[in-house]
Amino acid sequence: MRNRDAAYWLFLTPVLAALILVVIVPLIYGFYYSFTNWNGLGTPDFIGLKNYIDLFTDKGFLDTFWFTIKFSVAAIVVINIIGLSLALIVTSKIKSSNILRTVFFMPNLIGGLILGFIWQFIFIKVFGAIGDLTGIEAFNGWLSTTDTGFWGLIILTSWQMAGYIMIIYIAYLQAVPEDLIEAAKIDGANTFQRFRHITFPLVAPAFTVSLFLTLSHSFKIYDQNLSLTNGAPYNSTEMVAMNIVKSAFTENDMAYAQAKAVIFFVIVAVVSLTQVYINKKREVEL
């Protein structure tokens, strides 16, 4: 199929048209809008870097950003530890392995919005009931403080995503050759040593994939945030994705929201690329 062939372009037209109109043109326009005072209607005036300068002195936005970073770091650590542990359990020769996979993966099929509502019920009503029953104060008011709201979000995200990450680790764990493990056993290596020196290095590429996925997933979280805490109390559990949507469609501050969105894009792109680069390099050395 040559470039000159009509067929070549005919095959590409539908997706090219969609990508250009849905992603590329809005991306370019968005970049332009971020330098204007556009309010969603009418013609925008060019105001240079003002939106960006305002952004860096906007305490609300900076707090949101900091909260998102803290959340992402904690989520990545917790999800990967649980995900790998689940994978190790279900790839051992236990009989219930298939049922367990099905169960652990289940939350991923259900939308973040619904999961958030389910956990809202648990944190408010069920935790409250447990608190009343046991008299332990710590169970009460989970979605009404910043700290417990933070951990509420972590619990929800981990419950949802650990099963997904488990699938990735399983795929790599199953590729570890059985005879290598057997050989190490004969040489007298214990379970921990076998994991440390054989399984772990061979599974290293799974870390690249799962770190990448958990990072980009947790950094861009919106639905769960909206349905679990909706930013409460006082926007202190609001993450960047939600902050952008709010300032665009609730406060109608389109150009300013778009400047936030550009910063968001740059950070997501830089972090993702750096992370893939570092992990690829590390893999080669192993």
Partner: protein
């Protein structure tokens, strides 16, 4: 003997974790069957009297059949279009090894890095100007957002399909489209299932994009309708939980019948 003991221990840990994993669903379902006062009086226990009344009310309030139909229509059409057009594009790109092909492939893959929020505002504004904030517009947007990963996945599979197959069919007088449709596309079937599963999961569950594109009464998808429903009944947990349970049922049924393919699809999609 030690080995056996170890397996028993792992099995028990797995069992406990599975119970823990299912507890949120259990609490949701059990409480959806309770009278309002029962939820307040005894959240943790089983209902003193099981009632279906909450489900009947939630079913009506959610306009459930229509909402379900909207979700099925939008996800179904979007995914079919994504599968066919992404496979065609990936085929063209993989069979033509020119600079322009590698550039286009790079652009498609790079688009995966763009978070939705960074294109959302101009996207809605522009589609609004052309009167495209409707179901058709939404499906077209899903093609735009879904094609990147899909093309990437198909491209990987196509590299393994020998070009001599194309040539043989061509000698038999088939044109490009016939070669694709009769020879290549059937060979891509396993990948099409993966691509379909990956896309249907996010499109079915997507909230933000439909909320910006199809706000109108009667055209809401399940997440959209549920959001308004929940806001309306915040303090009425018995109704809210029945609504949540109802909306999860289609997914659980689908999972029950296709769990093998779903988990395999996720694994294939994630590893490539």
């Amino acid at each position: 003997m030690r080995e056996k003991w170890k397996l028993w221990l792992l099995g028990s840990i797995g069992f406990i974790l599975a119970i823990l994993w299912l507890t949120p669903f259990y609490l949701m379902i059990v409480n959806a069957f309770k009278m309002k006062r029962d939820i307040f009086a005894d959240t943790l226990g089983l209902p003193s009297a099981w009632t279906f009344e909450n489900f009947v009310q939630a079913f009506e309030q959610l306009d459930f059949l229509r909402t379900l139909f909207n979700s099925l229509l939008i996800s179904g059409v979007s995914v079919v279009i994504i599968i066919i057009f992404s496979a065609m594009a990936a085929y063209a790109l993989s069979r033509n090894k020119s600079k322009i092909s590698s550039l286009l492939f790079f652009v498609f893959v790079a688009a995966m890095l763009i978070p939705f929020q960074s294109v959302m505002i101009p996207l809605v504004a522009q589609f609004g100007q052309f009167g495209m904030l409707n179901k058709a517009g939404l499906i077209f947007m899903y093609l735009g957002f879904g094609c990147s990963l899909s093309i990437f996945l198909y491209h990987g599979t196509l590299k393994g399909i020998p070009i001599s197959l194309d040539e043989a069919a061509k000698i038999d007088g088939a044109n490009r489209f016939q070669v694709f449709w009769h020879i290549i596309f059937p060979l891509l079937k396993p990948m099409s299932i993966t691509v379909g599963i990956l896309n249907v999961i996010w499109i079915w569950n997507d909230y933000l994009l439909p909320s910006l594109v199809i706000g109108g009464a009667g055209s809401e998808t399940i997440p959209l309708k549920l959001f308004f429903f929940f806001g309306q009944y915040t303090k009425q947990w018995h109704l809210a939980l029945a609504g949540l349970t109802l909306s999860i049922i289609p997914v659980i049924i689908a999972y029950f019948f296709a769990q093998r393919q779903i988990i395999k699809g996720i694994a294939d999609g994630a590893v490539k």
